[in-house]
Amino acid sequence: MTASPTLLQASLLAEAGHRLSASLNLRRTIRTTVELAAAHLADAAVVVRPVHRRQSSWTRLAPGHPIEEGTLREALLAEVPGLTEALDGFPPIPSRWLDPAQAPAWLVPASLGPIGALLVVPLPGNAEPSGALILARGGPDAVFTSEDELLARVFAARAGSAISAAVLYQEQVDITAVLQADLQPPDLPQIDGFELAGSYQHRLGGDFYDVFAPSGDNTDTMITLGDVCGTGPEAAVLTGKIRHTLRALRLVGTGPEQMLHVLNQALLQSGRPTRFVTVVVGSIIRIDHGRIRLTLATGGHPPPLILRVDGTVEEAPVSGTLIGVLPQTVVRPATVELAPGELCLLHSDGLTEARGGPAGNEQYGENRLRQALSSCQGIPGTAAVERIRQLVSDWSHGGHSDDIAMLAVRAPTRTPLSLRDGGASPYAISERRPRPRS
């Protein structure tokens, strides 16, 4: 009941084709390569990657061990017969010319016993090798026949092209990750006297928010939320510029209204007249009795909504024109005060424009947003933002309203320790203070 060698080869190559094409991830592709090689071609398999900064990374699978990974100094590579040649892309040296006795002890675990036969095959890549595959068989009588060698070369060709595709993908991913890191909304700072809560759907470009904590001469906290026209890399780059402009303006102590005027000038002079932005800027200070005061200014953005302590919802009386279109912007700022338990919500228009509902294509709309906000009476800012996000998602029936950003400011209520047990907590927890968040 032995299958013919040809059938075994065909099944290896079919499995290899399927599994190697599955992942674009470099590490997984290499792990799959050693798994397949150790299962079908040899007792132990090692993939060694080309030298990078005087080191090579390696991945190994040997009997009785899980997959292992590590790095190797360049100087050690020459200890393995045929390895430097394979990494340089030369055709493989026939196995019978490689003396397994010369293989260094570190190459495979001792559990394999002495290596009986060794085969080192280059993994072809993008005009340069993507590594080498080392195959080892244990036992004194082990050999690699010429059929084995041919199969190993065909397999290595497939593995090599999968690895090199993953390398290319990984390079793109790394570049994108660097660019995107600058576009993510910040971790919200913990500021005494009020709560901040944000929600943002990951997307390249478009919406943004930012928070500038008190520093230096600036004793207020500044918040901003905006929406750059369009999406994609161009919008993302512009978003980054706007955030840096606002941050710089903040450092020189510019107030919300003036910020929008300067931002408008900066965008007009940077010469991309087709892209505009809507933005809200607010400055927050604590006043007496747990109240906070917000000075808000908007440039063409939906006015922030305010949830009062009795559950009514009102619009901040601000207005202003789009930023980055006209030489003169009109900005009418307003001051709003929040009593404990009251909340001010900045949001992008993606929230009210989310389509869904029973009929499937109806906008969520301002009225529903106001009702949703009203239902958040008495709950913390983070819970309120999460609840609204969930209600809108339910409205769009799990559809992807990717362009939703929210930033809420709330004057917290002083929660009494629960009075259900008469106020006397059985635990002396009051003397323990939570550690400061780093």
């Binding site: 599994r19 674009l24 819970a383 799990g398 059985p426």
Partner: protein, 373 residues
């Protein structure tokens, strides 16, 4: 001062009272006190934060708590969990390799100091199914796995399938853990599991959305299912990865009768709801007095009926729908809504589905199992 050495019902009641007030600070303080007194973080996660969350859900279902209060309590639970995470040691973020020498020196050599981080187990991506907003159970699992030595990428609540797959190609994890608490998300869970398999990454499913004993997880292609976070940790540390099994490119089975009806229900959902709403007043006179908010919430409920029906047909599992109608009856009863309201809704949907025998049979079965009053 009382020393908290374990989580008894007094601690649990106290903590529940704190989250009931949305007192994030107080909840985090209790967690900190327990950790200070040497209670293992795993016990705090499971027996305090997790157990309380279950009670919160029950209190909501029994109409003792408003949905806003449930949200506030959940937010407090998340904050408490974050406080716990900030205080417990992070495991090594990468495999323990010795970069200076050859392979033989590279693995398995770690100083065994007390309290040291657990051994590195690998990397895992953790996500809630698209449209699934119950993020706290997954967040608790993330912490349990982190404490067990995994590098965890928690991708969040409601992760679109495309984002999940992009993440898999970018990071190449050793496992995907997929959470689904509501069965209506099972078709999306199936799509995500299929895509993970295609990317060569094994999937462990969790959450009661996969059925009482996870029986629907396997049917949808998951390699494993775990009833609780601790079960998932055990499975992943003792029996992982599952052996590679070639995926069949073409399913050999016959198409199930549910497929066609599922497609119809999903695509015609808006029309089915609209028609039902138009006929509602004639069938259920109380609806004449509904204001806009009540009408919208009724339309939403009809949407749930369709979604659960569709999911039951997709998975081929009547229990998904029957459990839903039973649960809804209980929830409505707690809010003094007579079962007749739901009964009317089921009739209104059924009468539009005359050409779809599986749907009609399932609706009839649920109607016959409902209480008569």
């Amino acid at each position: 001062m009382t020393v908290l050495t374990h989580i008894d019902s007094a601690v649990a009641d106290h903590y529940l009272a704190l989250v009931a007030d949305g007192d994030e600070h107080g909840a985090a303080t209790v967690v900190g006190a327990l950790l200070d007194d040497g209670v293992p973080p795993q016990r705090v996660i499971v027996d305090l934060i997790g157990a309380t969350q279950t009670r919160v859900g029950e209190l909501w279902a029994a109409n003792e708590w408003s949905v806003a209060r449930e949200h506030a309590a959940t937010a407090a639970g998340e904050r408490a969990l974050a406080a716990l995470a900030a205080r417990t040691p992070a495991p090594s973020a990468s495999p323990p390799f010795d970069s200076a020498t050859g392979p033989s020196n590279s693995a398995g050599r770690r100083p065994a100091s007390p309290g040291a981080a657990p051994p590195y187990r690998g990397r895992i991506a953790l996500a809630c199914v698209d449209g699934e907003w119950h993020g706290l159970p997954a967040r608790m699992l993330a912490e349990l796995l982190r404490l067990d030595g995994w590098r965890v990428d928690y991708l969040g609540a409601s992760v679109p399938g495309r984002h999940l797959i992009t993440h898999l190609h970018q990071t190449g994890p050793d496992a995907v853990a997929l959470s689904c608490m509501i069965p209506t998300r099972l078709p999306r869970a199936h799509a995500a599991i299929t895509a993970c398999r295609a990317a060569g990454i094994p999937v462990i499913a969790g959450g009661r959305g996969f059925g009482p004993d996870g029986r629907w997880a396997e049917r949808l292609g998951a390699h494993a299912w775990a009833a609780t976070g601790e079960d998932a940790v055990t499975r992943l540390s003792t029996d992982w990865p599952p052996p590679y099994v070639a995926d069949l490119l073409f399913s050999p089975g016959e198409p199930t009768p549910g497929d066609e009806e599922y497609t119809y229900l999903t695509r015609r959902r808006p029309e089915l709801i609209t028609t039902a709403m138009q006929r509602l007043a004639a069938a259920y006179p109380a609806a004449h007095r509904y204001d806009q908010a009540q009408a919208e919430s009724t339309a939403e409920d009809l949407g749930h009926v369709i979604d659960f029906l569709a999911a039951a047909l997709y998975v081929g599992e009547p229990a998904i729908f029957l459990d839903f109608t039973q649960w809804t009856t209980d929830v409505l009863r707690a809010r003094n809504v007579p079962p007749n309201a739901l009964r009317t809704g089921l009739h209104l949907i059924r009468d539009q589905l005359a050409d779809f025998p599986s749907s009609v049979a399932l609706l009839n079965r649920s109607l016959s199992e409902m209480p008569q009053t």
